[in-house]
Subunit: 243 residues, 4 copies
């Protein structure tokens, strides 16, 4: 029932000799891909291999920002525009994260894990399209031909030997979809995140954590830019000018 | 007046061929310390060197979590306990970030940059102690002898040749303080963050951004743990049991 | 499908001669129970009668606060303790509002409206107890005999002639429950809010709005008290002393 | 130093016989202007007179909403558009409350209380205009001739015999300003709130509490409307269409 088994060490232990994340001394985590390694360790409770840490780092890079039109960025800048503190501005943006923004990787991972247990992928997709009208991990507001981030990440996963069952199923879904929906749908970054993280052994709910950590970087950048380059309420007034 | 000069490229540019952060293609950012490099680039507008990216990554590792008693973690777990979404739980914790939690690196960086322009450091500290009763970057609730994170980070900065004027001033402050306050005060993680980031050329306000991004990792871990291992409201009830 | 019919006026119209809420001039809303009247009008789109406004005002009074142990209050005070702004402190507390805190009135209203369409209330309760183990609007952590707020509100609704089908069903549920669960469960404030608001014609989702508005009063009081009477982080440290 | 004197009863006391706000039984608070009375009692610690409760209720009505272009409403609807919960949507909007949105009543009250101690109001205004370029409580983005809400509230305060020293000073400021700034500035709702609440004995910081409670009504209405009448992300996309 729980993804946290009783044999997983505490998130953080504080001692005079130093700090441990999940039982590992902080000193031992520092080095190439150190933050990605720490994130994987903190979230899943297990230390990622070097190759896995490299992949997690790339996933973080890919989701760090997507411009000020992303819902979370727009809300963060609006709050910064009203001169909320930096923490409160980022917090405002994170309130937009969920099923319709940043949550598709979680949904896609769950779908692929479910698909892995069924015989007939086409039938599973057909039922899902009927009930929910969409397939998580496919389609994009801006990218019509391909999402360059998804391509980059899936290629890296293959090169690192990390693309497993779920990445395979994701590509199978990509192949089946045009016939089922009557048009080509772009395999997007959320699809790549969901499949790759599922292949790394992350639970679906953990995919959203990676998005939150990555995107907080972009949200900070947008808030700081507003503080230093626009007048109070300028952004939000200009935004509303169009309505 | 503004830290964003007009010659700094947009935070994120979206094109069919790929995404650019501050003018650099995402593909080019991936690799060792990729997320740290991207964070530095997004926040400051300038691409960190390899050595700088290594340092930023270590700073991120060091601030990723500090246990569930940290104010932000306690609030995040309380919100998770009431079954707020993951994004809302992390957001709740980030509302605690500011002058009294996570903001001391910013204050310390500002103090060191100011100290760099004055002749008499002892006099500056004396005035500050008189007006504010404390020196940012010094003292810790738990660590009484030394903050192992600060030691680790300042040593790494020295090894990487990144310890400059501000790291030097920080150690000078450490040397002067006992006489001024009548007791030894531990040089803490915030002091190390402030001095090192100031030596990397980060503006003081940017130090808080690094803390927010790093700590969002720990906040996610704490929220996910509560979701999977405790009953709704269990954490908050147990917390209140002590009052 | 939507509770907002196309013939309902805009939430707020701003004109040189004055402001209108849902088409009614602000001047016309001021008077006894003016804020309760405005709230009902803003939320439902329809102007409450004088009697209804009186009832809404009493519901607001009853939910304005429930002490610092309520999850939202505990989080608000923790955020205030870290010296978040007043708005951010209240916001932090509101992030705890949902299914497990403040949401039972919504759930109870939905259940009663569903019950109103079925023949066999006992059977509906049996099924619900089987699937969800609890009946919204019943049971309380503190009150074991009766929730004085529920008694007060249901009596007022009866006196004002506002207790209709849903209040009747609520009392029927109270009568049936002991046999079904094997013990007496207190009819609580959420049950009273859900039934009374449903009888006033409010949609279930609107019940949560009334709770949010009412409780924001208590959250402000708690945050202001912390700002003026405790040191930064004092509350949160004392809270954790018990763990 | 603190506005909470030790002889003020606890915010809320919970007992078997009923709930007390600041020592007063809840039953005793219900009636005309009951919520306004409770709010005044909870925030200030002192029970407002009937006339004062009537005034507080009118202040709540006047600030309950100001359309979807108000910064807090815009952020709340954006969060609702991403399908944040109702509580999280309102929370997002409240993060915009502070010095540049909703905080001018507090600033105006503080200025009037300061002015009450000085001899030369003109000189105080001149200094303030020099350092901050604006006078809190004056000027409005939309209203150019007069803010109808301010007129309404100040007239009511006068009728109820509640307009005291601060209301007088506010009108004195209104008279002096055109000469000092070279144009007429509208006396706005924040000015009226600040002066009236200061005359009721509220501390400046408490003015922001009244705004938060009042405006949470409008924020709930906007969020619920978005949930029921627009598609996910529709509002935020349309908003950005203008940029």
């Amino acid at each position: 029932m729980s993804e946290y088994k009783s044999d997983i060490p505490d998130i953080t232990q504080i001692g005079d000799e130093g700090i441990r994340y999940r039982g590992t001394m902080m000193d031992d985590l520092i080095g190439p891909f150190g933050f990605a390694r720490s994130l994987g360790l903190l979230i899943t409770g297990k230390r990622p291999s070097e190759t896995q840490a490299r992949m997690i780092d790339a996933l973080l890079v890919s989701a760090a920002d997507h411009g000020e039109k992303a819902p979370s960025a727009c809300i963060t800048i609006s709050a910064a525009s009203a001169r909320a503190s930096l923490g409160a501005s980022v917090a405002a943006g994170l309130l937009a994260v969920g099923d319709v923004h940043g949550g598709a990787a979680r949904q896609c991972a769950a779908m692929l894990l479910e698909a892995g247990k069924e015989k007939d992928l086409r039938e599973l997709l057909r039922r899902r399209l009927e009930s929910e009208k969409r397939i998580p991990g496919f389609g994009h507001r801006i990218y019509r031909e391909k999402d360059p981030r998804a391509t980059l990440l899936l290629q890296l996963a293959a090169e690192l030997g990390l693309a497993g069952r779920c990445c395979g199923l994701l590509q199978e879904v990509e192949r089946l979809l045009p016939e089922l929906v009557g048009k080509t749908l772009v395999l997007n970054i959320d699809g790549a995140h969901g499949a790759i993280l599922a292949d790394l052994g992350w639970e679906p709910s953990m995919c959203e954590a990676l998005f939150i950590v990555a995107r907080s970087a972009g949200l900070c950048a947008h808030a700081l830019e507003d503080f230093s380059s626009r007048r109070p309420l300028q952004f939000i007034s200009e935004l509303q000018g169009g309505r």
